[in-house]
């Protein structure tokens, strides 16, 4: 439903509610007026009956809108004594009680009146009050209601239509942008001014589109890189198998090399799938509180000897702190990747040191570090600073970044005076 249509529905609902209130107000005002008049008539009738019985007169506190009539002993005396107005001739046949009747003023003008008729001591007493003042008040109230209704309806309609039109324009902008996005133009962003709910929705859509654009960009890059990176081992494999066809004697080493190359290709796929799974969040299932103290000892027990055997010096510094909520298996993978990096880029005989706690895990090496211009690039999948010189797939740091993201932790890449510091800082 468009905002304009919603506006018309709101205006219609407002009009119906206003008319209902108007009718109900009229009803209650009239009822209250009649109640008051009927009470006054009752007092007046008591007064004229007492006067008539004692003084045979109707001269009771003359007022502009009160009228009286007595028909003494209607069977024996047919005369009427009236004061202030001419009562209708057939009033003698009216039943006892209150009636709304028309009277005629002394100047001959008819007017509406409320009448009370009582039979008492063989006389018929009639008291009447003009309703003209009340009618005038009611008319004034109705006029006020009418002008209020017209004014408020026009004002509210204008406001609603302006707001609805504005909303409609903003919704149309969102719709147009979404159609652009749907057609594949992922750079499209919704631009709305203000700070209302539509702006919040637009910001969320923009963030989602940005994420989608990033993922699509990564996907495109990865697809191209995967295709490129798989071609090399596949070419090697193909060439070695081709050679085997022409060799009568099977060379065990060549077969082993071929299997090794197949394993490398499988490893590329496994790692890419693992990164994709971590990035999608489907891995977020095994978070538990881990003591970095214990974890650090375990890591050092496993990797300390490996690092030493490869000709490096190693040390660990553990700072006690609270337990950290993490997926231990994923953080183990993260540390493994950082150690591989340190081993790959540092010179033998240098130090590879571990820092565990209170809220971070750092691996410090004495290698060449990462140029600042490359820091954002090295965490992209399949990126290598120097492809000719490097071993590996260029997936390790992409995996490290994905693991940091799933932990909502910061990835630390810092060059210091002695080398590179890499790690994870939990929040």
């Amino acid at each position: 439903m468009s905002a304009i249509r919603q506006a018309f529905i709101l205006i219609s609902i407002y009009s119906v509610v206003f008319i209902f209130c108007w009718v109900m107000s009229n009803f209650f005002i009239e009822r209250k007026i009649i109640e008051n008049i009927d009470r006054d008539l009752s007092y007046d009738l008591e007064g004229i009956s007492l006067l008539w019985q004692s003084q045979k007169t109707l001269a009771l506190r003359p007022s502009q809108d009160s009228y009286y009539m007595i028909i003494p002993n209607p069977q024996g005396y047919q005369g009427r004594i009236a004061e202030g107005a001419i009562f209708p001739g057939n009033i003698i046949f009216f039943p006892e009680g209150y009636h709304s009747t028309n009277l005629i003023a002394e100047n001959g003008t008819p007017f509406k009146a409320r009448t009370l008729i009582r039979n008492r001591d063989d006389n018929i007493y009639i008291a009447a009050k003009s309703l003209e003042t009340q009618i005038q008040i009611r008319r004034t109230i109705n006029e006020i209601f009418f002008f209020s209704a017209i004014f408020s309806l026009i004002f509210i309609s204008l406001v609603i239509i302006v707001v609805a039109r504005n909303t409609q324009i903003r919704i149309s902008k969102i719709e147009t942008s979404l159609n652009f996005i749907k057609s594949g133009r992922l750079k499209t962003r919704i631009k709305l001014d203000g700070d209302d709910d539509l702006v919040k929705v637009s910001n969320s859509i923009n963030q989602t589109t940005q994420q989608l654009e990033n993922l699509m960009g990564q996907f495109k890059n990865q697809s191209a890189n995967i295709a490129h990176d798989l071609k090399t081992p596949l070419t090697n494999l193909r060439l070695s198998l081709e050679k085997k066809i022409n060799t009568k004697k099977i060379n065990q080493k060549q077969i082993r090399d071929s299997i090794h190359q197949i394993d490398e290709i499988i490893n590329i796929f496994d790692t890419i799938i693992k990164i994709a799974k971590i990035q999608s969040g489907s891995e977020r299932k095994k978070f538990s509180k881990v003591s970095l103290n214990e974890f650090g000892k375990e890591i050092f027990e496993t990797y300390g000897p490996v690092i030493e055997d490869k000709g490096f010096i190693t040390s660990i510094n553990i700072v006690n702190g609270d337990k950290i909520k993490m997926d231990k298996d994923l953080v183990f993978i993260l540390i493994t990747n950082l150690i591989q990096n340190a081993l790959k880029f540092s010179k033998k005989g240098t130090m590879i040191a571990f820092d565990f706690g209170p809220d971070k895990i750092l691996i410090k090496d004495q290698g060449p570090g990462i140029p600042n211009s490359q820091k954002n690039k090295v965490i992209k999948p399949l990126y290598q600073i120097n492809k000719m010189k490097e071993e590996g797939l260029g997936l390790g740091l992409a995996m490290v970044k994905a693991i940091c993201e799933i932990h909502k932790a910061d990835l630390i890449i810092k060059n210091n005076s002695t080398g590179l510091v890499m790690g994870i800082k939990f929040k």
Partner: protein
């Protein structure tokens, strides 16, 4: 050894059957879980090799079912589902081992030998001390003795030694050791196994000038105990 193989892949199933048979086993191949279940009830298999996703009854349900009926034949799952949660599901269903595709045939054979009934020396399981030749491990105090002399092994080295003893005479692959000792289900590409075995050897073999842990090139290690002096 009589092996039941449940694998619905038209190329992998027959290939595995042929090679398992060539390796000296009697292998019955099934491509359907319902038929495999009937065979398990009728024949006395020593090991079940089961693909997780099969027609009829899937492998996971089949293993749960036979375990609920009190059957404790060793089971190895073969599967393309290699995430940790998939592995946990497999172990929770009652599998004894889990091998992700693609795998090497040597790895499969090593795992069959490691978990088959005849390879498990039951008297050694779940006890405080295990002995093998002239080596004795106190699993509670985490101490190792060889020829009554105390050998200073760290925790990981002692766990490595424990698994070598449990699988004595059988080939243990690097992947198996990574899973058993370090609980690692990925290829760390660093030489964790080689380093720790080298250190274990330097402590357990070098002072006694002999070789208990032999390297099987490209596929793993075999521990053979030296007879008690």
């Amino acid at each position: 050894m009589r092996i039941l193989l449940l694998e619905d892949d038209a190329r992998l199933g027959p290939w595995l059957k042929k090679n398992l048979t060539d390796d000296g086993n009697i292998t019955d191949l099934f491509s359907d879980g319902v038929r495999a279940e009937l065979a398990i009830k009728k024949l006395n298999y020593e090991i079940l090799i089961i693909d997780r996703m099969t027609p009829g009854i899937d492998g996971l349900s089949l293993v749960k079912k036979i375990r609920s009926e009190g059957n404790n034949i060793p089971v190895i799952f073969l599967t393309a589902l290699n995430e940790i949660e998939n592995r946990l599901e497999g172990f929770e269903a009652g599998a004894d081992d889990y091998l992700a595709k693609p795998f090497s045939f040597d790895e499969l054979i090593s795992r069959i030998n490691a978990i088959s009934k005849r390879s498990i020396n039951k008297k050694r399981l779940n006890i405080e001390t295990i002995k093998s030749g002239d080596i004795e491990l106190d699993l509670i105090k985490r101490i190792c003795f060889r020829q009554k002399k105390k050998i200073d092994l760290n925790n990981k080295e002692l766990t490595l030694m424990e698994y070598f003893i449990r699988f004595e005479g059988k080939r243990v692959t690097k992947a198996m050791l990574l899973e058993l000792v370090w609980n690692i289900n990925f290829d760390p590409t660093t030489s964790i196994i080689e380093t720790h075995i080298s250190r274990l050897r330097s402590k357990i073999e070098k002072p006694f000038q002999d070789r208990l842990i032999k390297t099987v090139r490209g596929s793993g290690y075999v521990y053979t105990p030296k007879k008690n002096i």
